[in-house]
């Protein structure tokens, strides 16, 4: 038992030394960095919360205080990602398609996180990946929401044959596992970026359709909708003024969750070599391209996967808080 603790302690000090002095990057050192970053972000979130509480007063201060630290952590992380994605050109030390380094170089002053299989700078490609992968996921989620949301609202408001027909089509589309189905569709239409966007957006819109239809079903039967209809308001008015404002909370939460799923799906497809292709920087394909390094016990290729995981966790934190708030639960 004592020996175990001693071993753990020496391991930890070794990792700590390697982190400070730039020794070889082992799994322990990698996890050490990860842990340090997470700790930093958490402390940052806590400081932001305190600072906001100090700067405000009254009702606003009370409301800010109700937001859990995890939500601050999530929002801070998401803000960082957006910042990196927007200012990728300024932040990245090398251009996106630059391959001037040797392949698989170690972490050094020139290439802070080393180079990838084609000699590109790992850090720069990570930064550009934020723009490409996150941007792509956002576009797809947005598209899925437009398609699924509009159709779901129409089905709930109009009902009848249209509703039945669309719901049965969605049932069939949902009875095939989404990843498998997208593999089939990508085989047929080819693996271009446009096809990727359309295929995932349409497959994901089925889930949005289900939710949008279900929540607006509850609203459609309310008296004020009936009143608006009797008043002679048109379909567009009923949907946009009567129903939509009452279902935004669950839809926004769903947007966050959908974004995570889409993000993971794109990464999975890219990892399988069917998503974005090099030289476009993309986190999923970066893991695949550099996976050889793992066989030499170098965890560098896991950085993009870590970036994916961190963003997904952050979005989940924010969604949790929003769901909690909209459900009106007060612990």
């Amino acid at each position: 038992m004592i020996e175990f603790f001693e071993n753990t302690w020496t391991n930890l000090t070794n990792i700590f030394n390697a982190m400070l002095e730039g020794g070889p990057i082992t799994l322990g050192v990698f996890l050490g960095y990860t842990f340090t970053i997470l700790l930093g972000m958490s402390v940052g979130a806590w400081i932001v919360k305190r600072a906001l509480l100090l700067a405000t007063s009254g009702r606003r201060r009370h409301n800010l205080g109700l937001i859990p630290v995890t939500a601050y952590f999530g929002m801070l992380t998401i803000a960082t990602y957006i910042f990196v994605a927007v200012f990728a050109d300024i932040l990245a030390p090398y251009p996106e398609t630059d391959t001037s380094g040797g392949s698989f170089e170690m972490w050094s002053a020139q290439h802070i996180l080393g180079t990838d299989n084609r000699g590109g700078d790992m850090l720069s490609r990570l930064i550009y990946g934020a723009r490409n992968t996150v941007g792509l996921a956002f576009v797809i989620t947005f598209l899925a929401f437009i398609i699924g949301g509009v159709l779901g609202l129409l089905a709930a408001t109009l009902g009848g044959f249209l509703d039945q027909a669309m719901s049965r089509v969605v049932d069939v589309l949902m009875s095939i596992p989404p990843l498998i189905f997208s593999l089939l569709l990508l085989t047929i239409f080819g693996t271009s970026v446009l096809n990727l966007i359309l295929v995932i957006a349409i497959l994901d819109s089925t889930r949005v359709y289900r939710l949008a239809r279900a929540v607006s079903m509850n609203v459609v039967v309310m008296d004020f909708v009936e009143a608006a209809r009797l008043r002679g308001e048109g379909l567009w008015w009923v949907i946009s003024r009567e129903i939509l404002p009452n279902i935004t909370a669950p839809l926004i939460a769903e947007f966050g969750l959908r974004f995570c799923f889409v993000f993971l799906t794109i990464s999975a497809l890219s990892f399988l070599g069917l998503g974005l292709q090099p030289p476009t920087a993309d986190w999923g394909s970066m893991v695949k391209e550099n996976a050889d390094l793992i066989n030499y016990a170098d965890p560098t290729p896991l950085l993009p996967a870590l970036a994916i995981a961190l963003l997904t966790v952050a979005v989940n934190f924010v969604v949790d808080w929003m769901l909690h708030r909209s459900s009106g639960l007060k612990d």
Binding site: F181, C260, L264, A268, F271, L272, L274, A309
Partner: protein, 318 residues
């Protein structure tokens, strides 16, 4: 006819109908392939005679409806036609790989299901405890990470750190059961980690939902011991949600298998499917898709039937 039986038959009928519609969908999808298939596969240099012979061999000369029923008839008997890329029978390509994939999935399920249900039950019973919070963090982290991340962390830790397994899951063709277990363990652990989190979270939610209902409180107030409340009152009603949770996650395994097989270069159906997608080998993709979709639909069907069968309100009709 007792209501239980009627509901089960209804559900089975609906399941078969879904399966049929999905098979049509998959085959229509293949019809949509742009351009002349025979030309694409044989290349520009193929002579008209070669093209005609190939069309006859793959059945491209028949009309779509006949082709669909020939294909479906064959598929039910395990004959999926010929691969477009290698021109070998798909059944030969698939047989061994299907066995490997099923082996991996069952292995993972055998670890994951008891583990997840037990841990989820405990988390529900001791909710808001330190254990519950730790479980929550772990599951959230695990759900948010891509499967390949978990897989590579395990490789780095167990293969390179501890030296426990080999990196690649190559399986000799005449492998014994022991060898198969050894080669499959690391992929199975990865899948277990990925699926357990989902399953635990959902089991916990299902039980907590149930424990909040008035009749449980009633039982407690009557002074019935805690374990009896759980076993006699909660469990019969919790069975349906738990079965559903298990089925959904076993279905989720199907997606996970594709990626995990790729990481470990495990010779399974998922790997074959991904390879065929990049080779645009439509018939093989079609066959794999049909198999995966059927397993998915069947799992959901079994879950629905089981939750009907275990529903106490249906078993004791008034």
């Amino acid at each position: 006819m007792p209501p239980v039986l009627r509901m089960i038959l209804q559900r089975l009928g609906l399941g078969l109908l879904t399966l049929f519609v999905v098979s049509i969908l998959i085959s229509v999808a293949i019809e949509l392939l742009p351009g002349d298939l025979a030309q694409q596969i044989l290349g520009q240099t193929a002579t008209p005679e070669n093209l005609a012979a190939f069309r006859k061999e793959v059945g491209l000369d028949q009309d779509p409806v006949t082709r669909y029923f020939t294909w479906l008839g064959g598929a039910i008997q395990g004959d999926f036609g010929v691969s477009m890329a290698s021109r070998r029978p798909i059944a030969d390509l698939i047989a061994n790989r299907l066995y490997n994939t099923l082996f991996l999935a069952l292995y993972a399920a055998a670890i994951a299901v008891p583990l997840a249900v037990t841990l989820g039950l405990l988390a529900a019973l001791y909710r808001n405890s330190l254990y519950d919070r730790a479980v929550n963090v772990f599951t959230l982290g695990s759900i948010s990470t891509p499967e390949f991340f978990v897989a590579y962390i395990l490789i780095l830790w167990l293969v390179h750190g501890a030296g426990l397994f080999g990196v690649l899951s190559t399986i000799p063709t005449d492998a014994t059961f022991g060898q198969q277990i050894e080669a499959t363990t690391l992929p199975a652990i990865t899948l277990t980690l990925v699926v357990t989190a989902h399953m635990m979270r959902m089991t916990r939610a299902a039980i907590i939902n149930l424990l909040a209902s008035p009749y449980i409180e009633m039982a407690r107030l009557k002074g019935i011991p805690r374990y009896k409340v759980i076993l006699r009152h909660a469990l019969p009603n919790a069975l349906a949600p738990i079965i559903n949770v298990i089925a959904i996650n076993l279905a989720y395994l199907i997606t996970g298998v594709v990626i995990v097989e790729q990481v470990f270069t495990y010779p399974g159906l998922g790997g074959l499917m991904v390879d065929s997608v990049s080779k645009q080998d439509a018939t093989v993709v079609q066959a794999c898709c049909l198999i995966f979709a059927s397993v998915y639909i069947l799992l959901n069907l079994i879950a629905d039937v089981l939750s009907i069968v275990t529903n106490p309100r249906l078993l004791h009709p008034k």
